[in-house]
Symmetry: C2
Subunit: 319 residues, 2 copies
Amino acid sequence: MRGLLLASGTMSLCDDLPLPTARKGWSRVRVLQAGICATDQALDRGYMGFCGVPGHEFVGIALDGPLAGKRVTGEINAGCGTCELCRNHDSRHCKHRTVLGILQHSGAFAEQLSLPNENLVHVPDSVSDSAATFVEPLAAALHIADDVDLARHKRALVAGDGKLGLLCAHALALHGCNVTIAGRHPERLPLLPRGATLVSGWLEASAPKDVLPFDLAVDATGNSDVLPRLLALVRPRGTIVIKTTTERPTSICWSSLVVNEQRLIGSRCGRFAPAIAALANGSVPVERWIAARYPLAQALQAFQHAGTKGTLKVLLQIS
Amino acid sequence: MRGLLLASGTMSLCDDLPLPTARKGWSRVRVLQAGICATDQALDRGYMGFCGVPGHEFVGIALDGPLAGKRVTGEINAGCGTCELCRNHDSRHCKHRTVLGILQHSGAFAEQLSLPNENLVHVPDSVSDSAATFVEPLAAALHIADDVDLARHKRALVAGDGKLGLLCAHALALHGCNVTIAGRHPERLPLLPRGATLVSGWLEASAPKDVLPFDLAVDATGNSDVLPRLLALVRPRGTIVIKTTTERPTSICWSSLVVNEQRLIGSRCGRFAPAIAALANGSVPVERWIAARYPLAQALQAFQHAGTKGTLKVLLQIS
């Protein structure tokens, strides 16, 4: 089959990739569309040492399994199925998991992929193909509500106005937060949830002195250097959710965290059902964030476009 | 009055310190005993730039106010009383707070101190003077249970087998945790809660490979360099509580925290009532940790003794 292959640090389009094989308890999926995400670009730069087909934001048609013939997307972590975590329905943290397009698992930038049956989720007709490619990242954004009591964290700051930052802003607004986004793109104001505020310069220089401390800050910048600044903008007993997966270490002055009893929470993937529901009722207007669509044949150009400063979502039309 | 004064980086015994003045809503306390804590030693080395009488672990007799004549100890944070935090009973985080013996508030290493009436807590007869000096640090240790759902964090590792580490181990054991302490003093095994395990070398080198990951780790080492090691010893979605208030920054590799969805929680002072209850029923045998008692006249020697490697608690007999 045709697909994009990342091997030895080089991305190339291949026409002779092996089709996924049939496997008990797994379904094969014909990929329709897939989104290019910052993680894919990081993989291309060497993150995780990934070798294989990248891509984990997708919509497709199940070719076999319980959802055969249906339009589906899928949770990207495939656990071993037997360890204690998997038995407790937490395959996201299974030590032996594979992760679609990220860790020892061929991903969505190819004509077919395969996932365990229980990972696949039916996409209702009210969600377009393009919108369905946002289910995975929106689920990750909505996952903040699983880890933080948002009723006690109403005043929220989202650091970063890229794709993930916008999704986090919408996720928090859906949960009733009063959202401020600190970013570099004032022109993105129309893409924010209603009532949200867009500020710039707060992450590079000091925020204005009269800013009330936030209850919650979410780092969606891709740059953990902002953490000390976020800690300074959050109230005592407030929370910082970290979405940035940079491998570069950053220093924190721990005494201030301890004296202020703040908490830092690492946050990754989320449940798909709430994300599909939000897309189905049009709560998050993700289609307005699509900068371009490319056929799989032009996947390399699509990656180049996705990496251009200021570009939001680039989609690949696979089949 | 007589007391120990820390000024311009020098500790000295003074006989002519001013007595605390009467103040509406505050009580004066004649100090009976006070404990020397690692924070006092850090203040002596310049932490917080404190100038004044240190000391915040105490028992005394209230000289006026609602508890006049009673034996008391007291919560150490004195809020402004008017800000939103104080109105919501969280003066511990009031921006304008003073902290007994730590921040712009004369402390317990003197014949008298004063605190807001609502900070004072009656010490029942079942708690000795010496045990009562442990109320404040035991409250801080028990405070872990306010911030962490210990029913989901049964397997706990306490890093550090000093005073605070021992108190945290007992606090966690009281809440039903299965406790391991990583420290440097195998001879302290008899001071641990029943059933706890004492291991050494885990914080300096690698823990044995077959160690199951912990649900919770508490840093009570005074050295935040152990944090990366604690993150490696804690399971996905596990928690690290930081009690260490070092101003020296330490680097963390955030991507591992994010992928494992771990959380770091800064933790400081706690509620006195549960600590007094635990001491009253003999659950935490703190009197066995007392290495020495010195009269106030020998306070400088007491500090020297407290700073000697391997010394647990040194108390000052004030009056």
